[in-house]
Amino acid sequence: MNGSRQGESPSLVEVTGLCVEFGGLRAVDQLSFRLEGGAALALVGESGSGKSTVAAALLGLHRGTGARVGGSVQVAGIDVQRASDDELRRLRGGGAAMVFQDPLSSLDPYYAIGDQIAEVYRVHARGSRRAARARAVEVLDRVGIPDARRRSRSRPHEFSGGMRQRALIAMALACEPDLLIADEPTTALDVTVQAQILDLLHALREETGMGLLLVTHDVGVAAESVDEVLVMRHGRTVEHGPVGAVLGAPAQSYTRELLDAVPRVDAPRAPSAPAGEVVLEATGLRREFGRGKRAFAAVDDVSLTIRRGETLGVVGESGSGKTTLGRMLVGLLQPTAGEIKPGGGVRPEVQMVFQDPVSSLNPRRSVGESIADPLRARGEPDEGRVRGRVRELLERVGLEAAHYDRYPHEFSGGQRQRVGIARALAADPRVIVCDEPVSALDVTTQAQVVALLGELQRELGLALVFVAHDLAVVRQASDRVAVMRRGRIVESGPADEVYDNPQDPYTQQLLAAVPALDPGLAARRRAARREPAMV
C-alpha cells in the first residue's frame, strides 16, 4: 500500500458538514461521519435519501457536473474539495475504489474485461502492458472467476451478472485501495448470488484490511456486511451507530418505520379468507424460445390452479421462467404445449400489473387515458361513463379522481404502480397477474402496494398471481407459493409450509441466502456458507 496519507490523517474517511446541491435541490444536508481504516460503514436509506450522492462526493465525482458541494471531505489523507485534478485522479481507484450497482452497464461493452482492468491499473501503477494484464488476471482469479486467464479476454456480455459484479470488484482491487466504496453492489443480483458477493466482500476485507463504505437501500444487506450503520433521509443523518444497536434497538421512529416495512422471510402472513372455487387451471404448460439447436424451454411442464380470493406466489431467480409463465396466464404468450382451462367454463378476464411503473405507462398520455384504455378496448362508447369509471378506479387505488389529467412523471414510483393496478382493474378482471409489482419500489412503498393488493383481493374476490424474485415479499403477499427453477416448479404448497419447512434443496438454498436483519445470525450463516459455490 502507498502509505503517505497514513501519517497525516488518523481517519480513512472524514466527512464534515457535507452539503450537495443540484440546482436548487439540496440532496445532502450537513452530513458528517468518520470511517477508520479497516472498518465498515453502511449508508442506508430509501431512494432520494442522498446516499449515493455522498458516495460520489467521496471521490469528487461531482466536480464539473454543476453540483454545489460544501463542507469538507477527507479521504485517505486527501482533501477531496481542494485537491488538484491530478491528485483526485490518483485518489480515484488508487486510494479509494468504487464498485457500482449495475455490473452490466458499468463495464465498457466493447473491450475485454481483462483489458479494462489493466487500463485502470496502468493509470495508477506505471508498468508495462504485460504486467498490467498479469495483474488483471491475478485479481480476477482472486475474486473467484474460474479460468481467469482465458476469461479475462471475454467481453462483459459473455459474463453472467454475478461474474460481472466479481469483475468490477476485481477492478477495484487492482490497485490495492485503502477504501472500497460499494454503491448498491448486489441490488441487480439474485439472492444466492448476492450472498456470494457479500461473502466475497467480507473475505477481501479480512484479507486486505481495507475499509468499506457500503451504500444500500436493503437493511438486510447492511446487517450482513458492516460494523456501523448510518440511516439517511432527505439528505440528513437520522441515526448513526453500531449495526447491532441501530437495527436491534432503533432510537428514531423513522428507523423503526424502515425496519418494520422490511418484509420478513420468517414471519407468517396474516391469515386471509378461505380460497374459493378454481378460476383458472393450467396443465403441462411449456413454452420454448428459439428454434432448432438453439431452442430452449423457458417454462417446462408447469401445472397450477388459481382460486378465487387466493394469492399464488411464484418465486424464482432470474431466468427461472416466472415471467414467461405469467405472460402465458394472461395470454400475452401462447404456450408451446399444455393448456390453460377456465375453472367455470367461461374464460375469466385476466389482467396484468407490470414491474416497471415508469416504462409501462405511456409518458405522453395522461394516467386517466391510460386507465381508460381497457374500457375503450372493450367498446365502451359512452365517454361520460368511461371518465366516471376511471375516477372511481383512481379513488379505489388510493389516488384522487382529479388526477385523471395528470401525466406519469408527476407521480412517485408507488403512485405510478397504483395507476398500473387501476388500469388492470378497469376491465373487471377475476385474475390479476402481478409481475414483480413492487421490486422497483422502496420498502415502505412496497408494503403499501402489497397491502392495497390484499385489500382489493378481499373486496373484489380477485385471484392474484404474484410473481417476484424477493422471497420475503412473496411470503408477505401469498397464500400458496410455487418455487421455480429453470422453467420447472421445484416445490409448491401453502406459503407457511414451504417457507418454514422447505423440502427441496434449492428452496433451502434460496432461503439460506436471504440476508438476515440480525448481524449475529448473519455472521453464523456466513460461517455456514464458507467457501461459496461459484456463480
Partner: protein, 332 residues
Amino acid sequence: MTRLAGFVLRRAAGALITLFAISVIVYVVFYVTPGNVAQITCGPRCSPAQVHQVAEQLHLHDPLYERYWHFLQGLVVGQDYSTGTSVEHCPAPCLGLSYQSDQQVTRLILTKLPVSLSLVFGAMVLWLVLGVGTGVLSAWRRGRLTERLLTGITLAGVATPVFVIGLVLMIVVCGELELLPFPQYVAFTDDPEQWAWNLLLPWFSLALIEAAAFARLTRAAMLETLAEDHIRTFRAYGVGERSVIGRHALRGAFAPVIALNANNFGGAVGGAVLTETLFGLPGIGQELVHAVNVVDLPVVVGMVLVIGFFVVIANAVADVLYAVADRRVVLT
C-alpha cells in the same frame, strides 16, 4: 472467427440475392414499359430496319422470362451481337449496347467509373477524418465556445449546397489565390501526383458537406455514450478524460458512423452529379444524367445496376465491419 467467416459468407450470399432482385426490378421497370421499346432504345433517328434489328438483339419477340434470361446471360457470360454484316462480341459483364452512342455500355461505364471512384474514395477519407474529428472535438468541448462554433459551422455545412461551396473554393483557391490550377481530370494511372492535385478541390467540396453530417452523428453518439454508466466507471477510477473520450466514448460512435458511411459512399458513386458537373469530372453521375436526357435506355439500365452494385456492396461491408466492431451483434 469461424462464426465470423460463416457470417461473411452468408452476408455475401445475401448481397448476391439482393443484386439479383435489383436486376429483375430494373429490367422490368425499363424494358417492360408501354410503347415501342426498340424504338426508344435505338433512338429517334433510327430507320425501321434498324429498329427491327434492335428488337431482334433485345429478343423483344420472346416471352418476358426469356428476354430477361438473355439479359442475365450477357451479364454473367457475355453475349454476341449480330449487326447483320459482322458479329460484335460483348464480354461479361455485358450490359448491352448503347445504340445512340454506338458503344458497349460496359466499356462506357468502365471509362467513367475510375473518375467517380477517385472522387468518392478520396472524399470519403476526407469526410471521415474531418467529420469524426470535428464530432470528437465538439463532444469533448461540449458546452464551451469551441463546441458552439463547431456546431454552427457543421450546421452551415449541412445547409450549404455543394455547388456553392465548390464555386467559392474554386474562385478563391484557383482564381484569387492561384494556389491550384482549375481542376481537370487526370487519370491516376497517367500521373498520380497530378491526379491528386486536380482532385483536391472536388474532394473537399464533396467532403465538407458530408463531413457535417458525420460530425453531428459522431457528436450525438459520443454524448450518448458519455452519459452511460461505464464512462462513469472509468472516470471514477482516475482514467484521464483524453482516454475516456478517445477510447471509450469514440468506440460507441463507431457503429452509426459505419452505417452512415456505407449509405453515403454507395449514394455518392452515382449521386455526386453536382460535384462532377461543377469540376468537369466525366463520372458516372454526369453520364447518367446525360443518358436520361437523351433516353439512352441501355446506358440508364447499366448505370442503375452499377450504382445498385456499389450500394449493396458498401452495405455488406458495413455489416461485416459492424460485427467485427461489436461482438454483441448476433451473427445470423
